[in-house]
């Protein structure tokens, strides 16, 4: 220890008893006096500040208060592929209260003011109180009372500002839906950030009171659309009145705009077609028909041109003051879930539109030859219990090859093929269905998507409890072979399947957003901030001859005398190929429940050089050829510029 620098060995002399020397006593006294002096200095300084000049500082505190403010950035616009605006902004007026300013007020005065304010902006007092209560832990963020306030009310509030301390009026950009209900589920809506979202997103630059996209494109591309909020300071007096110019420390930066791959005209046509298909079904006595979906997509690159879902709703119910009754109405079962995007999240048994998957799997795996002839009959018996499985046409009895069976949509032909698949250990239909994108999300850039279901023996074992239900039986394979039973698909998955058939075996990645743009300003052209070129279609390894056979079968389905939608498409000037489907689904509508037919049609055109794939489903719409096929035709009419009535077309009863 003695070698450590800085520490010399202790004094060798033994220390005598310690006594406070007079010199030390003086020093302790000096210390004490110094401490007294410092305390006295603080005491008199406080006396001077608080007691002598207290009034003046109180005045300063009340009159010259700096308040930080936050100005939301103008939100970016959403346009279609040609720059046609779908969602833009319109100016509105925002009325807000600073909760901190309310705290200093007498309770009676505060209540009276809130009551008057609520009356002026036509918001129930209870709602205002509820909002304030919701934000009581955060007195430094203004609480929005109402967003879209009429000009005369704004003028009144401004003139009588002294009577409304802490009430702030500012400009705000409100969402404008240029085409009303058009693409409502796809575009989504914006509303104030919830406490839950704030908790998750606080470190990503979101603050209390921010507006955030809740669903659809508004949600999926919120980080591009929202821009950067401006912040700054402003002086206000004790009454909350602004007494200085706004000093920005950061100006708001407008959000980027999003350009979709959607074509507004085709989207309009698809939504009209959907309404037309529902009306056709109801004319045919399908009383439960009340919705569906139509998708139009480029089969070569996956660009979605139309994504329609019915029933629909007006997203402007979320703009301005949101009326709870309006939201309750949207959520009611009678409304048939208009906010659900059926095109990507609706789950339906695909029925006969699934038959090409069975055909491709069988030919590819070598247990079916395209030239092989199988007798198409009215019904077959299968399984240990000799259960009867019927054809949609009970009177058929003729030999068919694969193309004819597809065109005719012969069920018993595919039962036979499915039974062969049942004999094989590796579930070939399910294997190829998964490769074609079934049972999983397609990965389109707007969600939430449905996964659907491809039933397998393993799934059966997992999903059911009793030994009987856990067993995969011939009947399960038979049902799967014609897209029935437990099989579930989204309209978007079916669109991908028909794109794959049309383009010769390549799975495309469906996508809806083309690019993010910095909008054009004065003197500056629009700049592409980020482009989404899409991924290369993936060849899933199908035999070209198998695909060609299926393509031919689907062409015959729309052109041969025995085709299931020949009467709809055969005279259309552009060659269209495609398949009907009539899928039974167990549904519950109000008090009624039972099996209803889901009307499907999927196909593409022109046949040899595909430009557009269309898939339509009419919920509870009956036969595919009677509702979905004529609806899909309307989309082709718009796309190829063919005038309705310039050719012969009629719906047909078929599978």
């Amino acid at each position: 220890m003695s070698n450590v620098p800085g520490f010399l060995p202790p004094d060798p002399q033994v220390e005598g008893p310690y006594r406070v020397t007079p010199q030390t006593a003086i020093r302790i006294a000096v210390l004490g006096v110094l401490a007294i002096a410092l305390f006295a200095a603080l005491f008199f300084r406080l006396w001077a500040l608080q007691v002598i000049s207290g009034e003046r500082y109180l005045q300063t505190a009340q009159n010259n208060q700096v308040r930080t403010f936050r100005v939301p950035a103008p939100r970016g616009a959403i346009s279609d592929r040609n720059g046609v605006p779908l969602v833009s902004n319109r100016p509105g007026t925002l009325v807000q209260i600073w909760p901190a300013a309310l705290e200093g007020m007498a309770p009676a005065r505060r209540a009276a003011m809130i009551e008057r304010l609520a009356k002026i902006v036509s918001v129930p007092v209870a709602d205002v109180r509820k909002q304030l209560k919701l934000h009581r832990d955060d007195p430094l963020t203004p609480v929005t009372i109402r967003e879209a306030v009429r000009d005369d009310k704004v003028r009144y509030l401004l003139e009588h500002q002294a009577q409304f301390p802490g009430v702030e009026i500012s400009e705000v950009e409100l969402r404008r839906y240029e085409h009303g209900t058009l693409a409502a589920q796809l575009l989504g809506y914006v509303s104030e950030i919830s406490a839950d979202q704030l908790g998750r997103l606080q470190d990503k630059g979101y603050s209390a009171g921010d507006r955030i996209g809740q669903v659809g494109i508004e949600s999926a591309y919120d980080r591009y659309l929202r821009g950067v909020a401006g912040v700054g300071e402003v002086n206000v007096d004790a009454m909350g009145r602004v007494t200085s110019e706004r000093q920005y420390s950061r100006f708001p930066e407008p959000g980027y705009s999003v350009r979709l791959t959607l074509d507004a005209n085709l989207q309009t046509a698809a939504e009209n077609a959907l309404r037309y298909g529902v009306a056709l079904a109801q004319d045919n006595g399908e009383w439960a028909a009340d919705g569906g979906a139509i998708i139009a997509m480029n089969p070569n690159d996956g660009e979605v041109l139309a994504l329609a879902s019915a029933p629909t709703f007006d997203p402007s119910v979320y703009v301005g003051r949101v009326r709870p009754q309006a939201l309750t109405r949207l959520a009611a079962p009678e409304a048939n879930y208009p906010t659900l995007n059926r095109a990507v999240a609706g789950l339906y048994p695909p029925g006969s539109t699934f038959k090409p998957v069975t055909a491709l799997a069988a030919v590819q795996e070598g247990f079916l030859s395209p030239s092989e002839v199988i007798q198409c009959t009215g019904s077959i018996k299968a399984g240990e219990d000799q259960q009867v499985f019927r054809n949609w046409d009970p009177n058929k009895n003729e030999p068919m090859t694969l193309t004819t069976a597809l065109a005719n949509s012969c069920d018993t032909y595919f039962y036979d093929v499915a039974l062969r698949a049942y004999e094989r250990p590796d579930s070939p239909i399910q294997k190829w269905a998964r490769r074609m994108g079934f049972g999983q999300e397609t990965g389109i850039d707007v969600g939430p998507e449905g996964e659907g279901l491809v039933p397998t023996p393993a799934w059966r074992k997992r999903h059911f409890e009793s030994a009987w239900d856990q067993q995969w039986r011939p009947g399960d394979s038979i049902q799967l072979g014609i897209g029935q039973g437990d099989m579930l698909a989204t309209p978007l998955q079916m669109t991908s399947l028909y794109a794959l058939i049309a383009n010769g075996g390549k799975l495309v990645q469906p996508r809806i957003v083309q690019q993010i743009e910095q909008p054009a300003t004065e003197g500056d052209a629009a700049v592409v901030v980020r482009a989404f070129p899409g991924t290369k279609p993936e060849d899933i390894g199908l035999d070209q001859s198998a695909i060609t056979t299926v393509q031919e079968g689907l062409y015959d389905a729309t052109h041969a005398p025995y085709g299931t939608s020949t009467s709809v498409f055969s005279h259309f000037p552009v060659p269209i190929a495609g398949k009907t489907g009539t899928a039974e689904k167990f549904v519950t509508i109000g008090k009624w429940s039972g099996l209803r037919d889901q009307s499907w049609w999927c196909g593409w055109g022109p046949y040899a050089d595909p430009e557009l794939v269309v898939c339509a489903v009419i919920e509870n719409g009956g036969h595919g050829g009677e509702a979905a096929a004529p609806a899909a035709l309307k989309v082709f009419e718009q796309f190829f510029g063919v005038k309705p009535g310039s050719y012969v077309s009629g719906a047909v009863e078929s599978d």
């Binding site: 800085g6 401490a35 208060q65």
Partner: protein, 390 residues
């Protein structure tokens, strides 16, 4: 026999503890208890809106800090201070290592002050204060006979400079100043010559002038720009009301607006609307003065004055030069922090970020302050015991 042996070993220990407790300075304990209770009450009123949804966030955590600090106080008060004299070298080494370890950690808000040890964020510079008092007191007691030597004074300066420079580099200018105050206090009470003290004072002035003016004009920046702004702003608070001195003028407005009896918790707009930055820590006095007025602030000053009075008295009753020096270091560190913190909020001292003892939110500061109170108690007890023996 066996019973008697056991009793002989246990009984003296118990008797020792009883004698220690009897000789505690109860006036000091009462004042400290009052300060802790008052501080917690102030903190709860000031911080209720700081964490949305959890008005007791800071109060709860501060209560845990107090509980730990009280245990530390009890332990330190029971222990004979002579122990520190024996372990001064390891104490000094641990303190320096902890201060140096800071520079390995990630900076928080631009400064490196904390070390994460699991559940607790520990601030070595607070512990370093206590260690510096003990180490300097030990060194000066060793050198009692050669206290007039220049080498004694210079070595003491060197011993204080090493940790102070590390703290200064964190950067924590305020706490480095506390270290300087401790050095002056122990030299003063240990009996350093007036000439040495005057030389130190002159040296300080020269250093400050060169840091603020000479070296920067030669192109060498010792202080960071914000530190210079704060030091200059303190002399001239009206120069830039929205910039560097914004905090001072907002704080003075808050204090002044409190008037005689305060604006209450709800009416304290300076606090509630966040015009006062750091109102749970550095500027908590401004909030107290705004909410409770001159009466509330004066009550706090009175409690501090009692602590200082008892502390100065303890220097006089200390049983040895070593313990007297310890007591002096503790008292001066305490007075210095109270004065610089409150002085800062009323525009009498530069903004340095020193916590207000017992009131500012913060675990390390609370525990270190209670440890210093424990040291004062230990010195007081040993002094009384020695007097009893005589």
């Amino acid at each position: 026999m066996a019973v008697r042996v056991e009793q002989r070993q246990v009984a003296p220990l118990g008797a020792e503890a009883t004698r220690i407790v009897r000789h505690l300075d109860f006036a000091l304990l009462a004042a400290v208890a009052g300060l802790i209770a008052y501080g917690l009450w102030v903190l709860s009123a000031v911080s209720r809106n700081d964490v949305p949804g959890d008005p007791d966030y800071f109060v709860f955590r501060q209560s845990v800090n107090i509980a730990i600090g009280v245990v530390v106080l009890a332990g330190v008060a029971l222990l004979d201070p002579e122990v520190y004299r024996r372990i001064r070298v390891p104490l000094y080494a641990v303190s320096l290592v902890a201060l140096a370890a800071i520079f390995v950690a990630d900076p928080v808000r631009g400064t490196r002050r904390w070390i994460d040890i699991g559940f607790f964020r520990f601030q070595p510079s607070e512990l370093g204060k206590v260690v510096l008092i003990l180490v300097l007191a030990a060194f000066l007691a060793d050198r009692a006979r050669r206290i007039d030597d220049w080498s004694t004074t210079f070595t003491a300066v060197g011993l204080a400079a090493a940790p102070a420079v590390l703290v200064f580099l964190e950067p924590d200018f305020g706490t480095a100043m506390v270290y300087a105050a401790i050095l002056v206090a122990v030299l003063f009470i240990a009996g350093a010559r007036w000439l040495h003290l005057a030389t130190l004072a002159a040296g300080t002035v020269v250093t400050l002038v060169s840091m603020l003016w000479l070296l920067p004009s030669a192109g060498i920046q010792v202080l960071r720009p914000y530190q210079v702004e704060r030091l200059i702003g303190f002399w001239n608070p009206d120069s830039d009301p929205s910039g560097a001195t914004y905090n001072i003028s907002q704080s003075i407005t808050a204090v002044g607006s409190g008037g005689l009896d305060g604006r209450g918790v709800a009416g304290a707009t300076q606090t509630n609307m966040n015009y006062l930055p750091e109102h749970s820590t550095d500027f908590i006095f401004s909030s107290l003065a705004e909410q409770r007025g001159f009466l509330g602030a004066a009550l706090l000053l009175l409690l501090y004055a009692i602590v200082v009075w008892r502390g100065v008295r303890t220097i006089a009753v200390a049983p040895s030069l070593f313990t007297a020096t310890i007591a002096a270091g503790c008292v001066v560190a305490f007075v210095f922090q109270v004065f610089v913190n409150i002085g800062m909020t009323v525009g009498m001292a530069p903004i340095t970020g020193i916590p207000l003892p017992f009131v500012s939110y913060g675990g390390s500061s609370m525990i270190a302050t209670l440890a210093m109170i424990g040291l004062l108690q230990a010195v007081h007890v040993r002094g009384r015991l020695a007097a009893e023996r005589r």
